[in-house]
Amino acid sequence: MCERPQLTRSGLLCKLQKIILMGIFVRWTYLPWPLIGFLLVTGCNHRAGEIRIGVAGPMTGDQSKLGQDLQRGVEVAVEEWNQKGGVLGRRILLEIGDDQHDPKQAVLVANKFVDSSMVGVIGHFNSSASIPASSVYHEGHIPMITPASTNPQLTEQGYENVFRLCGKDDQQGKIAAEFVVNRLKAVRVAILHDKTTYGQGLGDLFRKNLEELGRGSFKVVYQGGITQGDKDFRGVLTSIAEARPDLIYFGGIYPEGGLIIRQAKELGLSAPMMSGDGVIDPKFLEIAGPAAQGTYLTFGPDPKAVPQGRRFVEKYRTRFGAEWAPYAIYAYDSANLLITAIEKAGTTDGKKVAEALHRVKYDGALGRIEFDSRGDIKKSPYVVWIAGTGEFKEYWAPPE
């Protein structure tokens, strides 16, 4: 087209002309088709008839079992509703978001859910994911029910669309401290946490309650943190052994918890371990093996004591061929609560559904559930469980 030498100003302009013309040609012939295809594909997702609910949790990574348990619990609830014709005459569709228990991923998932106009979200799992995500849902006016995030900060933000079905860490810490002071009488306590919002929060709340209740005769002889994802804790456990504790309290989740108790026993540390709801999972027993026996932990009361809870456990076993997973029940009840609220509100408008959630009284697999003005459940007892051979059992409840 232009035969000028390249390195002059007009030469470069000429080259530029060539590029622009090529670009226009390319755009005209190639661009519309992928664009049309893209619109067709995404357009197809927005079927007007369906109600979409999001499920968010750690679906991949070392805590993927927890995310999977969450998803399965919600699936059972949604299937039940869909068999009865859905809600408001529309089918319910689930969308899964994977936050890999990473706060940054959680925000991405939350943004995605808000953008695709979910009616509500069951999630997230970890407090460090739920808290940042809750701000996004608050701005998008989407109700969020978390089955498992126990850090108190979540419901202290004043967001009217945030709810939680589980208890809070200040309650967990208090019950744990009561157990240690009144029942175990373990005078020297070592505290370990995994530096996350949940783990460190729980560790601190346990310490605060222990020092208040213990009135000076109970001592925290060691406090330290470990890193999530790490596999070798012998260094820190050897230091703990030096302090000769009567109990090791661990704030964290089962992958680290299992390894910690296992390595502690290998090092000859005979003190029992106590933890929170992050370790009540069969995987904990698998990872720690025989070392897990005699580990205490705090969790809600046994759902198998409620008939609806037993029905859920049976249904879960037949549908998934696996033993009930502790948080699947919470996810199941969360989903039922959300869908019940949608029905009571008569609309998919997020604000109205959230208002309905604040007023709902529901009898679920966990018993009667009502939310208070902050989004916490009104009745939230924690009890102490113990790990036996291959299973967890309820062990001690605080005297009324």
Binding site: G61, D62, G224, G235, T238, R262, E266, K283, E286
Partner: protein
């Protein structure tokens, strides 16, 4: 307590040392940092878990634990050695005459690919190694040396001595040293460079597999992401000891394990991962070529 921390640190360090050897050998010959090395280690660990579970299901581990584990170790080392050779052939050889950064990017790409490959095929949750080792501990003063730790330490020592003898005394070892010194000259002397490089990758990967095998037994848990952190730490260990230097990699690995263990015990357990890198920075400021590295003359 100090003795116990020493034992813990040395055991950890032995694993880092085996991994660091792979990094240092490849760097010595190709001046390439093989970022996918951590993933070979991870594959070795996964294979160890899978094979042991298989043998255990057939009842072979009850017959003789020692022989079945030795068989598993052998297969892991051979398998990962093959992985290493393939890796080199696919990702690095075509880029040998390209810009220095290209094989590096290729290595990072292979690392991501292998991680996701294992995640998709093996699932993303942790896999547990069957608990077969008897829980025996030898007490030395106030410290305890468990059977596992003893096995790891002695196996690593044996492998490192074997490698050292190999590099120093055999013809192939001499060829490797020559190729590392000056690749063009070595090829002019009749050394088959491609074959030597393949052999280097094979040995490095086999050592990584041995490390992965030991880690699978020691912690009992494998996950597709263990290669990433271990790879970074082992690379740090190799640089600490002087990259390209084999005794340096061994010392660097052991030193790193000790620093991590003692640091987490005496200073703070929360900053455990930070100590190693802090020491790295300090060492490099004082001795830029690492502890054992020599200043190489600039090529003419």
């Amino acid at each position: 307590m100090f003795l116990q921390q020493l034992i813990n640190g040395l055991t950890l360090g032995a694993v880092y040392a085996l991994l660091a050897l792979g990094y240092t050998m490849v760097y010595g010959i190709l001046e390439l940092i093989n970022f996918a090395h951590g993933e070979i280690y991870m594959i070795g660990a996964y294979l160890a878990v899978i094979l042991t579970a298989l043998l255990s299901a057939r009842g072979l581990t009850q017959v003789s634990l020692f022989f079945s584990l030795a068989l598993v170790l052998l297969i892991c080392m051979l398998y990962c050695g093959a992985y290493g050779i393939t890796l080199e052939r696919l990702a690095y050889r075509p880029l040998r005459s390209a810009h220095r950064l290209s094989p590096l990017i290729s290595a990072i790409g292979m690392s991501i690919f292998l991680q996701n490959f294992v995640m998709l095929t093996q699932g993303s949750s942790d896999r547990v190694f069957p608990q077969l080792f008897p829980r025996k501990t030898l007490r030395i003063g106030s410290a305890g040396l468990s059977l596992l730790q003893l096995v790891i330490l002695s196996l690593s020592l044996v492998l490192m001595i074997l490698l050292h003898l190999f590099i120093r005394k055999t013809r192939l070892g001499r060829a490797m040293r020559a190729t590392a010194q000056d690749r063009v000259m070595a090829s002019l002397c009749g050394i088959p460079i491609d074959g030597i490089i393949a052999a280097t990758f094979f040995i490095g990967s086999a050592l990584a597999a041995a490390a992965g095998f030991m880690v699978a037994i020691y912690y009992g848990l494998v996950n597709f992401s263990i290669g990433y952190v271990a790879g970074i730490k082992a690379f740090t260990a190799a640089v600490l000891g002087g990259i390209g230097n084999i005794p340096g990699a061994m010392m660097g690995g052991l030193l790193l394990g000790l620093i991590e263990s003692l640091g987490s015990a005496y200073i703070s357990s929360e900053y455990k991962d930070g100590f190693a890198f802090l020491i790295l920075i300090l060492v490099l400021i004082v001795r830029p070529n690492g502890l054992f590295g020599e200043k190489t003359a600039d090529r003419a």
